[in-house]
């Protein structure tokens, strides 16, 4: 089933120059300001950023699910060769759940409290495959088994409040994979969970990705999770990409000051008792962003050019690319 109808070059999802603006009374919020990324067949890609960097919004706009007031100003989202932004509601519904599924961050609120787990999982199949309730229920039990839920038959007949947080998150993952999608988007799938459970869920996501041969787009603020699960990584800041590349490359030789700062702020065991490094300042106001690089207000190595002009994408060999003037072969003349 997986890989059917894939676009050429092994690319499953390609987002080009996506811009999403939200109109508010105080002005236009540039939540996503020109983000491009790709997810290959059976590839696992991470999008990492702080709160408010636009990473969740990026995932939602791929699914055609933008908040009221938000509009996609420009960009293309092509998935299995189709432009998702051009699809109408019915076309989008046919893809959601069937080819493209999402795992949400809070397992408490994303399950319907008055619906049995098995019925909630099976509903995807009733919607997309026209299966009968009974068969959908049987497949739901299968999906629950896949996400390593013990005694799935029992759990399928239970209500969300009867499950623990980790079990609910597993149920949500089962709900996402039961339709056998090609791409699974996970938005902060572990944020609401205990640390011990987080590790299990991460391992589960990785295993399922391997077993089912699907692609994974992981949205997170946690570099540790990315290191465990992802092949490639996009670092996003204030609606723009700062650096992209293979996880190994970025962890070993990050070139953007923001990536470096993010890596430095991960607290390791050996730092216990020591100081935790953090990034000074806050994400700039997205309503009226300064011209030039978005990270200029907090960058320790800011130069005059950073305050004037947006840095271009500078390929560094392989998948690695950085958006930073520090690595430009020559700087443009910025005196006026």
């Amino acid at each position: 089933m997986s890989g059917a109808g894939g676009a050429g070059g092994g690319t499953l999802l390609a987002v080009e120059d996506l811009r999403l603006h939200i109109d508010t009374y105080r002005g236009t919020v540039r939540a996503i300001d020109g983000i491009s990324f790709t997810v290959g067949q059976q590839e696992s890609v991470g999008i990492v950023g702080e709160s408010g960097s636009g990473k969740s919004m990026t995932a939602l706009s791929v699914l055609g699910f933008t908040p009221p007031g938000a509009r996609v100003v420009s960009g293309r989202v092509s998935f299995e060769g189709r432009d998702l932004l051009a699809l109408n509601d019915a076309g989008m519904r046919a893809i959601r759940g069937a080819r493209l599924a999402m795992v949400f961050q809070d397992p408490m609120t994303f399950l319907n409290p008055l619906m049995r787990i098995g019925d909630q999982i099976g509903e995807v199949l009733v919607t997309h495959r026209g299966l009968g309730r009974r068969e959908a229920r049987a497949r739901a039990v299968e999906a629950l088994r896949l996400v390593r839920i013990p005694s799935p038959e029992t759990v399928a007949g239970q209500y969300p409040h009867q499950l623990s947080g980790g079990m609910r998150q597993r149920a949500l993952i089962a709900m996402a994979i039961v339709g056998e999608p090609a791409l699974l988007i996970a938005d902060e799938p572990t944020t609401a969970l205990d640390v011990t459970v987080q590790a299990q869920i991460i391992a589960l996501l990785r295993d399922i990705k391997e077993e089912r041969g699907l692609s994974l787009l992981l949205i997170t603020h946690d570099l540790g999770i990315v290191a465990h699960v992802c092949d490639r990584l996009y670092v996003v800041y204030a609606g723009r990409i700062m650096e992209e590349g293979a996880v190994r490359t970025l962890f070993a030789r990050s070139m953007h000051p923001y990536t470096a700062a993010l890596l430095a702020s991960v607290a390791y065991d050996e730092d216990a008792g020591g100081t935790v490094s953090f990034i000074e300042g806050n994400v700039p106001n997205p309503i009226d962003p300064p011209p030039g690089c978005r990270f200029q207000t907090r960058c320790p190595r800011v130069m005059p050019v950073c305050r004037r002009m947006q840095p271009p994408r500078l390929p560094q060999g392989g998948d690695h690319a950085v958006y930073c003037w520090l690595h430009a072969p020559e700087l443009p003349d910025v005196r006026d």
Binding site: I95, T109, L111, N112, T127, L172
Partner: protein, 298 residues
């Protein structure tokens, strides 16, 4: 966002043993006036259902002495034509209950459907439905019902349909409010993300969560419909072929001074039934609404 988890979810915090229904019954049972209300309603329903078993007289059977006060042979006395009022009371209860239940079912079905569509889709659909609802709400309902029944003819079917069709605005407003809050809940997003269409979401995701207040509203709609039917009958617009409490009151007017029992018993029937339904409505509201319950504890 305020916590509007339905009782099943709210119950998760407490011991899980009794199950949702057991828990509901326990909560409901704690409220004495609600239990009294349920008993009143159940009692009157039982009387109406078991009517033929409880009296040897037919409701229209002539022959006894007219205007007999309550006594051993006729526990509620007789009317001006010598018919047994106890029998009329029992059979009249059947009519009142039938009208109440069916009319409330009609008005709730229309109201919840319109409210759901209005609240879920929003925008122009919402505006259109809400304006129509408001227009219907500001027209005096009793007057409109009287005129309509007078034009269509006073049959039981007409009375039921007219009451049902004129009484949906409160259910619409309530369902709309529920749907507006519930549609922004995350599990609705999750359903939408997995490709569910609007009707699936309305009926299988949101509606079950909106039910508690709708159930309460339906109970109150039954009592309003019973009262409305009684009023119409009292004014001579009920079905003349069927005895109802309202019709009995109508006939009693002339003899109010010499045979007050003709008015007292059907009046008591209406009052007790409506009282019971309202107490039940309050009790259900408290047992089903987690917010009210918490306030009661605090």
């Amino acid at each position: 966002m305020t916590d509007r988890r339905p009782p099943a979810a709210a119950a998760a915090a407490g011991p899980r043993r009794p199950g949702a229904i057991g828990l509901f019954l326990r909560k409901y049972g704690e409220n004495r006036s609600a239990v009294a209300g349920a008993m009143l309603v159940a009692g009157l329903v039982a009387l109406a259902v078991a009517a033929p078993l409880l009296t040897g007289h037919g409701p229209r059977q002539l022959g006894a002495v007219p205007l007999l006060p309550p006594g051993a042979e006729h526990p509620m006395g007789t009317d001006d034509l010598g018919r047994d009022i106890w029998a009329q009371f029992l059979y009249g209860g059947r009519t009142s209950l039938l009208v109440g239940l069916v009319a409330a079912a009609i008005s709730t079905a229309i109201g919840v459907f319109l409210g759901a569509v209005s609240g879920y889709f929003g925008g122009l659909v919402d505006d259109a439905i809400q304006r129509v609802t408001e227009m219907l709400s500001i027209v005096p309902r009793y007057f409109l019902a009287m005129v309509t029944v007078a034009i269509l003819g006073p049959t039981i079917l007409n009375v039921i349909v007219v009451i049902g069709v004129l009484s949906w605005p409160p259910a619409t407003k309530l369902a709309r409010a529920e749907f507006v809050t519930l549609k922004s809940r995350s599990f609705v997003d999750a359903a939408r993300m997995s490709g569910a269409g609007p009707w699936t979401i309305i009926f299988s995701e949101i509606l079950p969560n909106a039910l508690p207040p709708i159930v309460v509203q339906t109970i109150l709609a039954v009592s309003a419909a019973v009262l409305m039917e009684a009023t119409l009958s009292f004014l001579g617009l009920g079905d003349p072929n069927l005895i109802s409490w309202g019709l009995m009151l109508n006939k009693a007017q002339t003899f109010l001074t010499i045979a007050p029992w003709m008015a007292i018993f059907p009046g008591l029937g209406i009052s007790l039934f409506i009282l019971g339904l309202n107490l039940m409505g309050d009790g259900l509201n408290q047992a089903l609404n987690p917010r009210l319950r918490r306030e009661a504890k605090a």
